[in-house]
Symmetry: C2
Subunit: 356 residues, 2 copies
């Protein structure tokens, strides 16, 4: 799979390796300076090769969202995975997790007494450990911080070692909300850790983190951070103010197939960019080299780009599109084209589509 190659037909996903390397190093440094461990969320890149780069930069292990992702990364050589998800461990999932636990250190999330009991039924004695998920303001999954000790106690009593708490401060995805979300995250995790201690369980791991909130993490409460998108950046991070244009490491190369005076249409649509559009987004994606332009509508294979005064690229020209949400774009392709100086290689997206 490693070779120097001519660019494939558009649209394709391109990674600028020097920018990727800088992003990984910068975040490892900034988190390390706080005395916090990094456990990057690998759902963003789904690539064993990039996970290796993160581990080489000092990450303790990786975070994933599904058992299938864990299987792909363990097969790719990773030996420490946290499935940061409130799994319902039915017998089939139990079998898969037991197999994983023979090859790697495995942690999973729980967020109810019932799911902890179910997981314990399958996993007691296997070395799999659990963290209790806490809601710090995103209101997706997770229990109230004050309830964390009760869940951890139930897991422990059922025979499953409970070693800490975690949260995802997803409400940090808001232009004005990054600092507040980080503060709420720290407060909720501190309360949850105290709740564990109140149930005679030592919170060895106190885990938080998202890319937009990571800049506001403080030493003290957290023991680990799980940013994901930071490796690549995307139009959401650009518009949230987390990343500048020159820090964006991943784009979709696309061809101009239609051209008018004030707009172009390119051949990258939702089937390679993803269809994510947050409330604060100014469009369905951006052009890296025409920062004033906006993708104003998106079909499966068309992006309509309003140029807003920028000169229109020629018919047949290649443009670099920045997806709104890079995790979605990566999950749509089997490989990246990794550019490093004059060299181009294909890097497989090992864990693409591993939803279960």
């Amino acid at each position: 799979m490693r070779m120097t190659l001519a660019p494939p037909p558009t649209p394709f996903v391109a990674v600028e390796v020097p920018v990727l390397e800088r992003n990984i190093a910068a975040r490892a440094r900034s988190i390390g300076e706080l005395g916090i461990e990094t456990r990057p969320h690998a759902k963003t890149h789904k690539s064993s090769r990039i996970a290796r780069m993160q581990l080489d930069a000092g990450a303790r292990g990786i975070t994933v969202a599904t058992i299938g992702e864990a299987e792909a990364f363990v097969a790719g050589g990773v030996d420490d995975v946290f499935i940061a998800y409130p799994l319902w461990v039915d017998p089939d999932r139990g079998t898969r997790l037991r197999a994983l636990a023979e090859r790697a250190e495995v942690r999973i999330g729980v967020e109810s007494i019932e799911s902890a009991a179910r997981a314990a039924e399958e996993l007691r004695g296997t070395g799999v450990r659990v963290l209790v998920e806490v809601d710090s303001g995103h209101h997706r999954t997770g229990v109230a911080a004050s309830d964390a000790g009760r869940i951890a106690r139930a897991a422990a009593d059922a025979g499953l070692p409970a070693i800490g708490v975690f949260t995802f401060p997803g409400h940090s995805y808001s232009p004005d909300g990054r600092r507040t979300a980080a503060e709420q995250e720290a407060a909720a995790l501190a309360e949850a850790a105290a709740s564990l201690r109140g149930s005679d369980i030592e919170p060895l791991v106190v885990s938080g983190g998202s890319t937009p909130s990571a800049d506001f993490a403080a030493a003290g409460t957290l023991t680990e951070l799980r940013p994901g998108v930071y490796v690549f950046g995307d139009a959401q991070q650009w518009e949230l103010g987390t990343y500048a244009r020159e820090q964006i490491a991943l784009t979709v190369h696309a061809t101009v197939v239609s051209r008018r005076a004030d707009r172009i249409v390119v051949d990258a649509g939702s089937k390679i960019l993803g269809a994510d559009r947050a409330a604060y987004s100014t469009g369905f994606g951006r052009l890296l080299d025409l920062p004033d332009a906006r993708i104003t509508s998106l079909s499966e294979h068309h992006a309509v780009v309003e140029l807003d005064g920028s000169p229109a690229p020629s018919l047949g020209a290649t443009v670099r599109v920045v997806p709104n949400h890079v995790c979605s774009a990566v999950n749509l392709v089997d490989s990246f084209v990794a550019f490093d100086g004059g060299r181009a290689e294909l890097w497989p997206v090992d864990a693409r589509g591993r939803n279960s």
Copy 2:
């Protein structure tokens, strides 16, 4: 790949074969009664097996969006494909289209004199024929109807047989816009066909169609219709009023991983449902068996479902989620689980990810 199998771990894409068969037969009949040919858009299912079902029901050929999809379907046995897209035929695409034209009847779209000239450079003498794309109100790609003759003439003069016109009435994706879009489509195509005649080119093919507008197609102007989504239906069609609940053939089976009194969270997120949300959508998807419930927020592996009074399914229960836009969901998986009575088989999604 064909076998009876136990359901795989959730989330997975499930197709109810009897419903699929009824949808294919009903649309073939309704379009056939108008004296119009059906050339279904295969981007929806990306499955050679379902394309074969459509051809067996009388379809003339299939429609695709990319050369890669055409390659996958021709490899799967289809011998007549229309790439309904204004391709920019660079030398690499020229090579691929020439190879395709040796194995199948191939038509492509053009929408400018430049793209017609570029295509002619690569394709003259190969049997590949072109249709001029016309804008009938969706304002994506396509020329004004009155301009169609000029583009067709340029293609013909450059050595590329021009045989007709096509449009996509995408503005039919609006609860009140279906009939109007169909009327505008017919008017634009009639004007475009007249424009070809004015340039001494016979419009042998006058092609339109979308699933929401197909119910309003009339005999007279169109020679073919290209609906895609009709095979499966989805939450968009349900909410547009095109399809009733019992006509929906595809769902994502998902597990309840979190449960409160008024809401549940299931393990199907945007990485299997897609993130599409039209302006008229009431959420990010629906539950087939709880029609009052709505997916009010969607992450990559979580759908938050507000129950609105429906009883909450148990933790660990399986629910059937109807994606908003089925074409996006299908493109996220390598296979469907096809249920037919007591039997389950895996059907490959041959053309998944063929974006280029």
